[in-house]
Assembly symmetry: C2
Homo-oligomer: 344 residues x 2
């Protein structure tokens, strides 16, 4: 516990610092006797390696920086948890950068690989965390980076391949919409996320595909632009209820929005799903406890987090990435918030 270093340890044992270092970090490179001797002495002396020294020497921090718009978003925090666990198992620590969607903060955090505070980046945004200026420079080297859930446009990435871990949002959304169509719904409103977010665009595509392939019209006035928040769900639902022609189903592009939606509906005495059906997206842990329990798309939160880290570490280790895009399976979870289209 005393603040002893490798040097002191070596002196105490009458051996070289190299041997101490090896015995501790590359045990198979020294004799059994040496290994034992050093390891016991180290334990006895309460030796704790100073990682900064090693980092400086090896140019590896064993840190990963996670750049995320909102740590406290329920879906995100599930992924984060898995991320952190996987990283820890692989000997990495996780630094968090909550950006609140602010560009400057994204860039600050994106810079942490350059300043050697982290070896790689996991990014939950659809924008790369670098200035256009930096990216334009021909000396620009893309640091190890994995994109989670939000697709970064290749054009924006300037031709760089940005590995992505995600589900098939289009397909998932199509299935969810189809479920509603199968129940007889025709007028299906949508509360989207931020329209600049690819996940929203893709979910919208899925919705449109499902409608069209069932011969149903895509009614633009039923598409409401929102955000992935409770508030948006509540506010926009009220707007929907005010519309001249009411939909019989509402597709919320995330579960938090769906909860806000359910809330507004109940506040105005609508019965769900008798009057209006509601679906969400994500299957956050609360979804099954909503009243009514929410029909939604379950995303494999744990696997997303795990894969992000695995892929990132592969890149850091300079391994060839076979798949620049990992698409994980989702699952349609039918609960009690959806029912047949009411007769009018």
């Amino acid at each position: 516990m005393s603040d002893i270093g490798i040097k002191q340890l070596a002196k105490n044992l009458g051996i070289s610092t190299a041997s101490v270092s090896r015995a501790l970090s590359n045990p198979d490179r020294v004799s059994t006797a040496m290994r034992k001797r050093v390891q016991t002495a180290a334990k006895l002396a309460g030796y704790r390696p100073n990682k900064m020294g090693a980092s400086l020497r090896t140019s590896k921090t064993r840190n990963i920086i996670v750049i995320i718009p909102d740590i406290s978003d329920t879906f995100n925090s599930g992924v984060i948890r898995s991320l952190e666990r996987t990283a820890a198992n692989r000997g990495y620590s996780v630094l968090f950068g909550d950006t609140q969607g602010i560009r400057e903060l994204e860039i600050t955090y994106g810079d942490m690989v350059q300043t050697r505070q982290a070896d790689g980046i996991i990014c939950f945004s659809h924008r790369l965390p670098f200035t256009d200026e930096d990216m334009a420079s021909d000396s620009f080297k893309m640091p190890p980076l994995v994109n989670s859930c939000e697709y970064i446009d290749a054009a924006q990435a300037g031709g760089h391949i940005v590995p992505l871990v995600t589900i098939d949002n289009v397909k998932a959304s199509r299935e969810l919409t189809q479920h509603l169509i199968d129940l007889g719904h025709i007028d299906i409103a949508v509360i989207t996320g931020d329209i600049s977010s690819p996940s929203t665009t893709q979910r919208l595509q899925g919705y449109q595909q499902a409608m069209l392939s069932s011969g149903l019209p895509v009614q633009q006035q039923l598409i409401y632009e929102g955000t992935y928040t409770l508030e948006a769900g509540s506010t926009i639902t009220k707007e929907i209820l005010l519309a001249k022609k009411r939909p019989t189903a509402i597709f919320c592009m995330c579960d938090e929005t769906a909860l806000g939606c359910l809330y507004a509906l109940k506040e105005h005495n609508f019965s769900i799903p008798n009057d209006i059906s509601v679906v969400g997206f994500d299957d956050i842990k609360f979804a099954q406890y909503f009243s009514p329990a929410l029909t939604t798309i379950a995303q494999p939160v744990a696997e997303i987090g795990q894969q992000c880290v695995e892929v990132l570490i592969d890149i850091i280790d300079g391994k060839e990435i076979k798949k620049p895009m990992v698409v994980l399976p989702h699952r349609l979870v039918i609960r009690d918030s959806t029912g047949p289209r009411p007769d009018r």
Copy 2:
């Protein structure tokens, strides 16, 4: 953007590395001319300081490690968000260690100050993240550490003062219970958190104080040991409903538990608050969207996070801590899940 160092920069300018370092890190220690010259050159060359070098030299990482049982807990993730923002503003990065309550992981993360990966610790657990062995050693030095929300027993801390940022759990719980009593409730069940957690113990105390001071008996069979989870809320509520003598109110020691409770109640066709009143604790963002909207204690999430960081940095900076315990104000939020005791 090219990988240039302070050395190269100095050479290019025909000056010493010391001047470059000073111009960049201690601008007031050099002449205006020098400062300008270096700063322009640095920007032009796309110089990015290698923080590892500085860290090794100064023995400061500017990292804080946050040790927390569950990052994805909604209450925690709110605090975390604020934590991270405050730290960033103060020039610190935040490392996260999710322990799942596992002792070994706590210790691994607690060790990160020793191994110079962080300068201080914010701990959400009621246990110190060090081995008993370490703590017993007389060479043990307590690293900068702040405890959040959970009180660490002085005895356990071996006489060390462990600064704490929290609300007054006893008082909050008393007020919440009193609210129920004021509504005429006499048989008030409690679903606790983990009984080893001080926050639970304190909330239980508050409950008992309120009962006693109103001349109401504390009925042991109404105190159900649970955890701060949705599942506990749901499972234990069913148990409560099965009891011979049913309570008319249920005090859940966290909002997630309360949601599980509401769920179970509705599943069994109880009307809230007509048949049974329910209260939670924390006021997570979902609470007002529950149906019915939840009566609860609002904790000042943002301030808790902020204060934790402020106090910790003070300790890191070697400042005298005036207050080893920061108690932040809570607020009783009365919504729709509580009502008068039903006639029987």
